[in-house]
């Protein structure tokens, strides 16, 4: 019941004549409902690994199965669909669109989904998620009016709006103070308790400990999982 299966993934970048091997023969299996933290020093390849799992990058060799389907060689349009419906992203720098309100930001993934939900239903779902992350009172505010923690909570709501299979978080607490970080991690833990599969990259040990499993990377290889 592996929801994510990576088999022998390698990623090699070519910059001119120089070859950089970001990942070497990485194999990894994540079951549904797991909460995994990926740790490692800079250059260990953790961001590259996240990008491949998130279908933002293609492996140079190896295979990636998401929910038992081989996805690394799918056409760009199909991969875009999976990113929309199957994967929820949370970034270190939040990446909210600055000219849109909280509500519009959370609704954004719906713009690219071809599902048959009515506007009313979409609105209802967005409101529900915003309530869940405690931001019902900030629905019409703009990102520049929100604190870091609030912005990340908007991002979480956005990541959940299409009910994805997995949540991918890249240093979600990287720019937040310890109190806010704890709040965010509490939300993550709550989501995991509800059955969400979460994969998180972090370099902070205290944050990684919220997860149930820690995978350590070094020089593009898994050294412990």
């Amino acid at each position: 019941m592996a929801i994510i299966e990576l088999k022998d993934i390698s990623k090699i970048y070519k910059i001119g004549k120089i070859k950089i091997t970001a990942l070497r023969n990485v194999s990894l299996s994540v079951k549904k409902g797991e909460f995994v933290a990926i740790m490692g020093p800079s250059g260990s390849g953790k961001t590259t690994l996240m990008n491949i799992i998130g279908l933002l990058d293609r492996p140079t060799s190896g295979a990636y199965f998401l929910n038992q389907k081989r996805v690394d060689q799918m056409k760009p349009k199909e991969q875009a669909k999976i990113r929309n419906q199957g994967i929820g992203f949370i970034f270190q720098l939040f990446n909210l669109l600055p000219r849109m309100s909280t509500f519009s930001n959370v609704m954004l993934p719906f713009t690219y989904s071809k599902n048959k939900l009515s506007y009313k239903e979409k609105k209802k779902r967005a409101f529900l998620l915003l309530k869940k992350v405690g931001l019902s009172h900030r629905i019409n505010h703009f990102p520049n009016e929100l604190s870091g923690g609030e912005k990340q909570r908007v991002a979480i709501a956005r990541a959940l709006v299409c009910n994805p299979l997995i949540i991918l978080a890249d240093e979600p607490t990287g720019t937040l103070d310890s109190k806010t970080s704890k709040e965010i991690m509490r939300i993550f833990r709550e989501l995991n308790r509800e059955g969400r599969t979460i994969i998180m990259v972090t370099h902070e040990k205290e944050i990684a400990e919220y997860a149930k499993r820690i995978i350590k990377l070094k020089d593009g290889r898994i050294v412990s999982s």
Partner: protein, 404 residues
């Protein structure tokens, strides 16, 4: 729906930096308003001419010397307006006798003489004419009488003058019955013509003076005539009259087509051809600013794409395809240039009102012109927006998200 979302997003992006957007629009605004105004002016003049050609009278035909309209598209030389005419009084008589479709006919001979009253001089368009000239609406007799058959036969020294000529020579005095000097002879003023100036086709009967043709022929010492004006019995006769007159004159002129037989329709076509040419030429020049405007849009869009690299990366991360991003930025460019087009049309309305107040031209902005303007605007947006849109759509999401 998707397009609506894109349009909303486009407005958001445009309104973020109002000054920048406004500057970008200037080229399009100027281009569209210039093109629309020019087209409207051309249309207005065309309408004015059509009205005036119709006002000349009904079922008219005219024979001129020289080939004015050649068989191929385009205009032959407007020859025969200078130089010796190829038409004679006998030509006119032949037409009168043999072409049954014609009910009224008059030849005219254009002279260049000045006329004098006491110490005042005037240089009207002096023509020798015949009584039947009256059928054409342009010689609107206001006072007195027109030439009579007797005037022609007896070569009476009588003259009919236009209002402007009357004012110049007589001021407040009543001209009727007075004698003015033409070619050192005394002519009695028997009638006054007053009519509306046909400014669009450049014809002003108020500056004319008419003496009997027989007398004019003597003064000019020629049996030639400058024009033959005719009126057909009814509308349906015009076409056949034109053909038959042409045949008749050809046979009289040794099969040399050194004349033109024109109907009012032909006149209109002639003016239309000239006007279309001028309008197209000028609009083409105005369209250059559209290209400049388009380049402005392309420039700003390229900057915008770079500025929003992270946004593009994010949109792709949450499921936008190459096509989604492409359309988003194309819509943005099109909305921008449509705004320019809209403003351009408003300005051309204002300019048209201004033009109609200070010149005799009344620009006519047709529905077609407005559609044209919007069509041009959207096209500019798409053509000049495609390169930045492709640049945006091509961005690699992973890289884009890392962008500072």
């Amino acid at each position: 729906m998707v397009l609506f979302e894109n349009i909303k997003s486009a407005f958001r992006a445009i309104l973020v930096n109002k000054v920048r957007s406004a500057l970008t629009l200037i080229g399009i605004v100027i281009g569209v308003s210039a093109v629309i105004t020019l087209v409207a002016m051309g249309q207005g003049v065309k309408l004015g001419i059509a009205k005036e050609v119709e006002a000349l009278g009904t079922n008219l035909l005219i024979v001129l010397p020289g080939r004015v309209i050649s068989e191929e598209k385009g205009l032959g030389g407007i020859a025969g307006l200078a130089g010796v005419s190829t038409l004679t009084l006998d030509d006119k008589n032949a037409i009168k006798n043999e072409i049954s479709e014609i009910q009224k006919i008059s030849a005219i001979l254009i002279l260049s003489e000045n006329v004098m009253y006491n110490d005042k001089q005037a240089l009207p368009m002096l023509i020798g004419g015949e009584p039947e000239l009256e059928f054409t609406n342009i010689y609107n007799l206001k006072f007195g009488r027109f030439l009579s058959d007797e005037d022609i036969t007896n070569k009476n020294k009588v003259i009919v003058i236009g209002k402007t000529v009357a004012d110049d020579l007589f001021g407040q005095e009543d001209p009727l019955g007075k004698k003015i000097i033409v070619n050192k002879e005394e002519f009695e003023v028997i009638g006054i013509i007053e009519t509306e100036t046909l400014s669009n086709i450049g014809f002003d009967a108020n500056s004319m003076a008419v003496i009997p043709l027989s007398l004019a022929s003597d003064i000019a010492k020629t049996d030639r005539v400058t024009r033959i004006l005719m009126q057909a019995k009814n509308r349906d006769d015009v076409a056949s009259a034109q053909t038959r007159i042409k045949e008749l004159l050809l046979s009289r002129h040794n099969n040399v087509e050194d004349f033109s037989v024109l109907t009012q329709k032909d006149m209109l076509k002639m003016f239309d051809t000239i006007l279309n040419l001028v309008t197209t030429l000028l609009s083409g020049i105005a369209a250059i600013s559209l290209v400049v405007g388009g380049i402005g849009i392309m420039n700003i869009m390229l900057v915008s794409v770079t500025e929003r690299t992270r946004e593009i990366g994010l949109r792709k991360a949450i499921g936008a395809t190459f096509g989604n991003i492409l359309v988003q930025f194309l819509v943005e460019a099109s909305v921008l240039s449509l705004m320019g087009g809209g403003i351009g049309i408003l300005i051309s309305f204002l300019v048209s009102i201004l033009i109609s107040k200070i010149t005799p031209i009344i620009p006519d902005i047709t529905f077609f012109a407005i559609i044209l303007a919007f069509g041009i605007s959207v096209s500019i947006g798409i053509i000049f927006g495609i390169a930045p849109a492709i640049k945006a759509a091509r961005k690699d999401p992973a890289e884009a998200l890392r962008y500072e």
